[in-house]
Amino acid sequence: MTDLSVEIGGVRLANPVMPASGTFSEEMEKVIDLNRLGAFVTKTITREIRAGNPLPRVAETRSGMLNSIGIPSKGVASFIKETMSRYADYRPPLVVSISAPTAEGFASLAEQLTLPGVAAIEANISCPNLEEDGKAFAMTASSTANVVQKLRAATRLPLWVKLTPNTGDVAGVARAAESMGADALVVANTILAMSIDIHTFRPRLGNVMGGLSGPAIKPIVLRQVYQCAQAVGIPIVGCGGIATAEDAVEYLLAGASAVQVGTATFVQPGAMLRIIDGIDRFCESRSLPSVRGLIGAVLNEEADVPDLAWVEPVS
């Protein structure tokens, strides 16, 4: 038996596997044993009641999917009254994902959700910032610093900050979040993408553009987890295209302390539990007493910086 427990910014998890926001809900209790998960992460909630985006909201791509769900939300009151109580009977800690169009909005929502039964706040700062022309907070270090600072002042709960992979400066954004008091980073959300139906000449998503997720994005997000792990000291939760235990181990080696599984659950509803079992077997086969031995264990003979200059993303 491997010790699978990890600690993510003040939250102790029995194992490093949890769902990604928006790809999980308490409906899963009908098909898997929820008590086996490392944590629960809710769909992002917003203060205002939102309907979500126009249809169609999903398009399939090779090894992944595009979504433009938007953030349909029943609002905070309904979340506190109805959803939270459904999780109360389970062991895994509850991480509540929040979003708002302004830094003040984020802070007040975090404050309102600083409640018994909430183990951590995951701030989804990949959403548009109305104060910066709709550019996502996590696109730049400065707006990340601003929103994280306000969030930090608003809650004593562990604060996880979820980054966007669409920035050219993920390490800078990560450092900004850490310097303003984030307890952990979740890397990352979906990659902005699009798809066109060549028979009808129409975009496949009602919203034209949407977020790409699934195995297709794994190498990109893995690279960003690695870059963030080099840049900060706080724990990182890797999220992007994880479908198997091997994928999860790769993320741990790159520097993640835990992983979130999203789209893979749609294809294999038991994916998270299989990944937990697989990580356990992997550690056993390597005689590792603890999964923590994998975190950041990638062996790299440093490439010279100039060698990589030509692939460096420009922001």
């Binding site: 928006g22 790809t23 999980f24 809900s25 409906e27 899963m28 009908k30 098909v31 898997i32 769909k43 309907a51 979500g52 249809l55 169609p56 909201r57 999903v58 399939e60 791509t61 090779r62 090894s63 992944g64 999917m65 979504n67 769900i69 349909p72 699934g214 789209t263 659950t265 749609f266 294809v267 294999q268 509803p269 038991g270 539990l273 299989r274 079992d277």
Partner: protein, 267 residues
């Protein structure tokens, strides 16, 4: 059954035969509650990859027949794109990963003496298991089945086999238009053969039934289709607008439906 996920299982393909130029009938054997699926419920099928294509998400497919005694479930599907082309390649003895049964199916009110089932295209597959269920409940069925051409009419034998009266209408014979179907339905109502409408597969025919249901104060249910990802109510990919007492509400087809109140559905 699968030890990790209670609704996901590997089923053995018993047969997978062409019914006509477009539709195949797939019968699988599986353990557990799958074979007791209700009419209108569906499964998420993990389609094999056909040559050169990679369907990624599961494909929703209605239960065509479920036989708990034989431990089988069957599907009737139109070969349309990558996923269904993958299904079409399955042969006897192959395995198929099925997830379900999912969703809310049709409900038969024991007070009904006779119902009218109206379907078109792949909707005929969704409606077919009602034939067995209605017979078991002692409810008489009249099925109005519509397709582009007579040879694409599926489920006719199923309905007849369970004692239903079947009226077929097709585009090629010029009988499938809403006006003609409305005349047929008015005739059935006048003859006292319609305590409820159950429908799937055509929004034009759904509108006709909504009108008649309002005029004659009849209940009805409609099975809706929408693209899905999770099939479990988690992702909100499958929402549609519904009209609940004049207010537009969003519902998820996979878990609030796929069967909805006829009067709430919007075409």
């Amino acid at each position: 059954m699968n030890a990790i996920c209670t609704a996901e299982r590997l089923a053995d393909v018993v047969r997978n035969d062409w019914l006509n130029a477009e539709y195949k009938h797939l019968v699988v054997r599986c353990s557990g509650p799958a074979s007791s699926a209700h009419p209108g419920q569906f499964f998420q099928l993990l389609c094999p990859q056909p040559p050169g294509e990679e369907p990624y998400l599961r494909r929703p497919m209605s239960v065509y027949d479920a036989d708990p005694a034989a431990g089988t479930v069957s599907f009737l599907y139109k070969v349309a794109g990558a996923g269904t082309r993958g299904l079409a390649g399955l042969g006897t003895g192959d395995r198929l990963d099925i997830f379900g049964p999912l969703g809310v199916g049709f409900t038969l009110d024991p007070a009904w003496k006779s119902i009218v089932v109206v379907g078109r295209g792949a909707g005929l597959a969704t409606l077919a298991p009602l034939a067995r269920a209605a017979q078991a409940a002692g409810i008489k069925v009249t099925a109005v089945l519509s397709a582009r051409r007579p040879e694409l009419l599926v489920s006719v034998d199923v309905f007849r086999g369970f004692g239903a009266e079947v009226l077929t209408v097709t585009d090629s014979e010029g009988t499938s238009g809403p006006a003609h179907v409305e005349r047929l339905l008015r005739g059935l109502i006048a003859a006292g053969g319609c305590d409820a409408f159950l429908t799937c597969g055509s929004s034009r025919l759904m509108r006709v039934q909504q009108r008649l249901a309002r005029e004659f104060d009849l209940p009805g249910q409609v099975a809706m289709e929408q693209q899905m990802a999770c099939g479990l109510g988690m992702c909100f990919c499958c929402v549609l607008d519904f009209n609940r007492n004049g207010e537009i509400v969003h519902k998820r087809v996979c878990c609030d439906g796929p069967v909805f109140d006829l009067m709430e559905a919007l075409p």
